[in-house]
Symmetry: C2
Subunit: 640 residues, 2 copies
């Protein structure tokens, strides 16, 4: 039998399957991207599709109302195909394919933050030096008097031009040498890198083609962001981003580690990131920059420990199993050709070093970019993503830890949650008297709301708390037009009535959502708290707070403090530094000193494993209130 | 329409084609091996097949009698497919697939020659030292107290075991590391090589698997021969040979260079040697030696300049075009993975260096094996193959040149010629009185003759000359029962009547055959003569003659001198040294000093390009007699 997927705004896809096959699995086999942050265990309710025709055997779900069920809505993870059928896949279900709105250098503001970060690095003494060179050569043409073979001819010319002894001409260059030399009549440009022994050729091109390109990549659990830059002067040639194609195997690293452990799983996860995600972005960036993939001579990757393992195709099982020993922290000698990335096959791939199972290269690269390693001041560096990672310290010491914030900041675990794409409520103010909300929505001016993204949730909860609509436990304590209760007595706050929303479904936030979110923000705060305590320090000793990550730019810091997510320090101490993993990766691809510094930063960073750290659980429980059980920690938290 | 090939002793192969397609081309597409030494231009007459059923449009050919044509025999190169048809492919047409009888170490005599050669190298101070090591390790098992990642754990252990600083763990090892360590409970054997900076891991295996294997390959234009040996002690683990699969694109290097220049040709020729020829032999040798392909840690190749280019997939066009500048003489840093050879992908592939367009690595490796570079005596080294290469000199100087002997020594250009497989007349004595021949035939005792191989042709011509049946020009001057003439007056000598032969066709040698052969032997002698003259030396200054090559073992040296092919020196000065290219390649794979010495020998060897050398043509013309126009050069040549 077969399933026809009618994809909103796309072409239909037809897939063969057997009776009883799970619909989500069939969609995955067909490469139909259905969002399933919970990896298909029925808990998130995001994978809804609408049965148009045919037969599915589906479980009822708390995520679907009776009306929705009657209208054919089903959770694909909880549906079995029982006959030929046609299902409608709404755009929201495949939302991760849309471009993320934040931290991909798409706005002038972000570019400014990115460039300021690079200037700071220069100021800290990190010069942009790298070993890549394009050497233009006009070789003597062979004759009966000069019968030197091609490779010796090239070697001699490079020895002279670069004043080096040894010249390596690797296989990929050798096989093209005879052909290119003759086609270009012996006037060529050789691209390559200086090595301790001399020079390694990486590419032989027409004389005028001197492009030397570096590619920096931030591989987030949710989003992948990339810049290509001129290795000679740092000019950004192209930039882009997309969702991480692995997301269909689970929204968080744990689900993906489980998935990669299944037969063929490692290859599947690696293909999802390399073939399905990075390759198309790289191809499109090469096209827009007008360069060939072979001109990409170095890549750098900022990614967490699990993403790094899945990227290189190394078993990640031990990352999450006691004694939490990953296969590698740092990796020397990896080449683009090893991974079949669309770049020069000899291009080194720098992996920003991991320092623990849950503090990876995105954090070491981000720490480099933050500049905190060069300051006397005590700085807190917070990277908010699917996981939250914290670094604290200064030029003398650096401590780090990670906490599982869960997908709440990216709209998971929240009934109307979504990522920060068109239609997301990204900010909110609630009138304390009328309890009416004023919403900011991602997208065009006339965009109607679709759901709520991370920054919107922070605002809404902060405002509900400030206006006394909910109490410190996140329970509703005021009644009003916008506060509704269901049959079981669970209350919710309605942000948009069905007729106001894009999807004609009510957009609201309920007590379960708030509880989920409070646990997420509690995880962040208690991680900060525990890290500080581990070095006998407290909140008032923090001189600066650097906030990084895709969610970061949209955050209202005051509201984040108000709900007890960030420590209650002077708001002027907060600095948003954008996608610090990408900034660090960019610095590393451009600059050998930056790479060395990152290695040094990683070597000096202490990793605190929170899950086994005494006191962390107590701290977490205490943080699961608004703003905190110990209100003295948040003197500025406002509440009507 | 389709062609069914009924292969003698094989399973039928069916191939689709279009009306008018050339039958030989269809056979090639179907991977049906039909021998076509002339590359399909109709001149050699070897590609005969028999039409069983259906329709071919064929040209008549001097290679087919009227009776044969009537019986359905056709030259496949001169036939077009005009409808569905079935053709019979006789075993002789696919003879190159059979194992060559000589110089593949299949006889105890050859093994003894091979081993004597290695002992001579030892005696010359070439020690068998190489950097390959198998390190057995029992690593500490990770715990919460010892959370070092896998690669650091391995690095530390190797640093201790080998007392080195740097340990390289390349991609192919890294991706297997986590899995193998845990599967083997952290007791493993690491195979790799010492490098100047430390140690490069190449493979991680179970603790007990310590095999370190080297693979030496002689890639001849006609035949490929291989030995696998233990890198730790030199023991031969397996050996084998087969025809070079490229032969269907032409018997000589010129035709193959033309073929590789056609669209897709380079890949086609490379696939023919790597995928179709080397891969199956290597797989079979690994199986018989009981080792995995990944245990092959180094390879070495002795091959002529063209074979080397086609092997690595580099355009060989310039090898045969003025100014004869090949793409490379030597090649550093080639790896088995570059060529997708079934070996450890990191295994270095040593290519014995070429020194000119027509003096290649088979000769430099062979020169190493001959030991002439270490002697005071003046030595002549002759490698007889499809091309003939000559080296002359001693420890002070080495001169070399090549001549195109053509395929005559391998049975090409000779009407009843064949390679030295079952049924080949390999030796012959003719009674001076009765003119009756006594034949030695390759194969079982009751083997009936099929054709004549190179050593047989030498004997037959020498005997015809000695008994006065032919004159110095190769023309028949005695009449008798076995001397026949055709309608045009061309004479031939019948070695076997139709009823005596395996194929029921007469086996004879005619005046055109003799003329072709005289030109081949003339090319060899005049090359020797010119080379000697170029250094102002003469035949009487030769102390030793080393004869190498597949054809060599069977040669009756006295007869070869008698017809003026080899110089007339004391027969005791002749030494057959077997497949010297393979002997040299074996020494190189086993021993770094051998590789260094070969590089040095190549650097010191002068290449004489005969085609542009003044006097060579005169010398060639003078040598195209039996034994020579200047009979004083051959005082011992016997003639009745």
């Amino acid at each position: 039998m077969k399933v026809t997927f009618q994809i909103e705004g796309g072409t239909p896809v037809i897939m063969e399957c057997n009776a009883g096959d799970n619909l989500l699995e069939v969609a995955r086999r067909a490469n139909v991207a259905i969002d399933a942050p919970c990896s298909g265990n029925g808990s998130c309710g995001k994978c809804r599709v609408q049965l148009v025709e045919g037969e599915l055997e589906s479980l009822q779900s708390r995520h679907l109302t009776d009306e929705e069920y009657a209208a054919g809505w089903r959770l694909s993870c909880s549906s079995k195909v029982m006959g030929d059928c046609t299902v409608f896949v709404p755009d929201i279900a495949s939302a991760y394919q849309s471009r993320m709105k934040t931290a991909d250098l798409s706005s002038p503001q972000e570019v400014a933050i990115f460039q300021e970060c690079q200037e700071q690095l220069h100021a800290s003494g990190i010069q942009f030096e790298n070993p890549f060179r394009a050497v233009q050569l006009k070789l003597p043409v062979p004759s009966l008097e000069d019968t030197m073979p091609d490779n010796e001819r090239l070697t001699r010319a490079l020895q002279d031009a670069l004043n080096v002894e040894q010249v390596e001409i690797p296989f990929t260059v050798m096989v093209r040498l005879a052909h290119v030399l003759r086609q270009e009549e012996f006037a060529v440009c050789v691209k390559g890198m200086l090595i301790p022994q001399g020079f390694r050729c990486m590419e032989i091109c027409p004389y005028e083609d001197t492009a030397l390109v570096g590619c920096a990549i931030d591989i987030g659990t949710t989003t992948v962001t990339m810049v290509m830059a001129d290795l000679a002067n740092g000019t950004i040639l192209a930039k882009g981003s997309s969702g991480n194609g692995q997301i269909r195997y689970g929204a968080d690293v744990i689900n993906r580690i489980i998935e990669q452990g299944r037969p063929g799983g490692r290859k599947k996860l690696q293909d999802a990131i390399i073939k399905e995600t990075l390759t198309p972005i790289m191809a499109s960036l090469c096209k827009s920059a007008g360069i060939s993939a072979r001109s990409i001579l170095r890549l750098s990757v900022g990614a967490n420990t699990t993403m790094n393992h899945l990227f290189v195709g190394v078993d990640a099982a031990s990352v999450r199993m006691e004694p939490y020993v990953p296969s590698f922290f740092s990796w020397e000698g990896l080449l683009a050709g090893d991974l079949k990335l669309p770049a020069n096959p000899l291009a080194p791939v720098i992996i920003a070093p991991n320092i623990g199972s849950y503090v990876g290269g995105d954090i070491t690269a981000g720490t480099l970019a933050s500049g905190i390693w060069d300051k006397d001041e005590m700085s807190l560096f917070i990277d908010l993503g699917t996981n939250g990672e914290i670094v604290f310290g200064n030029r003398d010491f650096l401590m780090s830890c990670a906490c599982s914030a869960g997908p709440a900041f990216e709209g998971g675990d929240i009934s109307c949650g979504m990522r920060a794409t068109d239609g997301a409520v990204e900010a909110c103010v609630i009138d304390g008297e009328t309890m009416e909300p004023a919403l900011s929505i991602v997208g065009e001016a006339d965009q109607r709301p679709v759901g709520i993204c991370g920054s919107g949730i922070i605002d809404i909860i902060s405002e509900l708390f400030r206006t006394g609509i909910i109490n410190a436990k996140g329970l509703f304590v005021r009644e009003g037009k916008r506060v509704k209760r269901d049959d079981h007595g669970m209350a919710r706050y309605v942000l948009a009535w069905p007729e106001e929303s894009e999807t004609e479904r009510e957009i609201s936030i309920n007590e379960v959502d708030i509880d989920n979110f409070i646990r997420a923000k509690g995880a962040i705060f208690s991680a900060i708290d525990t890290l500080l305590k581990s070095v006998d320090m407290s909140v008032d000793m923090i001189d600066r707070v650097y906030v990084a990550g895709g969610i970061g730019s949209g955050i209202n810091m005051k509201n984040a403090v108000n709900i007890g997510m960030f420590p209650d320090v002077d708001l002027e101490k907060f600095h948003y530094i954008g996608n610090s993993s990408l900034s660090g990766a960019y610095a590393m691809v451009m600059s050998d000193p930056a790479t060395e510094k990152t290695t040094q930063v990683a070597a000096n960073m202490t990793y605190l494993e929170l899950s086994t750290y005494p006191g962390y659980m107590d701290s977490f429980v205490a943080a699961c209130f608004l703003p905190h059980t110990d209100a003295r920690l948040f003197p500025n938290s406002s509440r009507s």
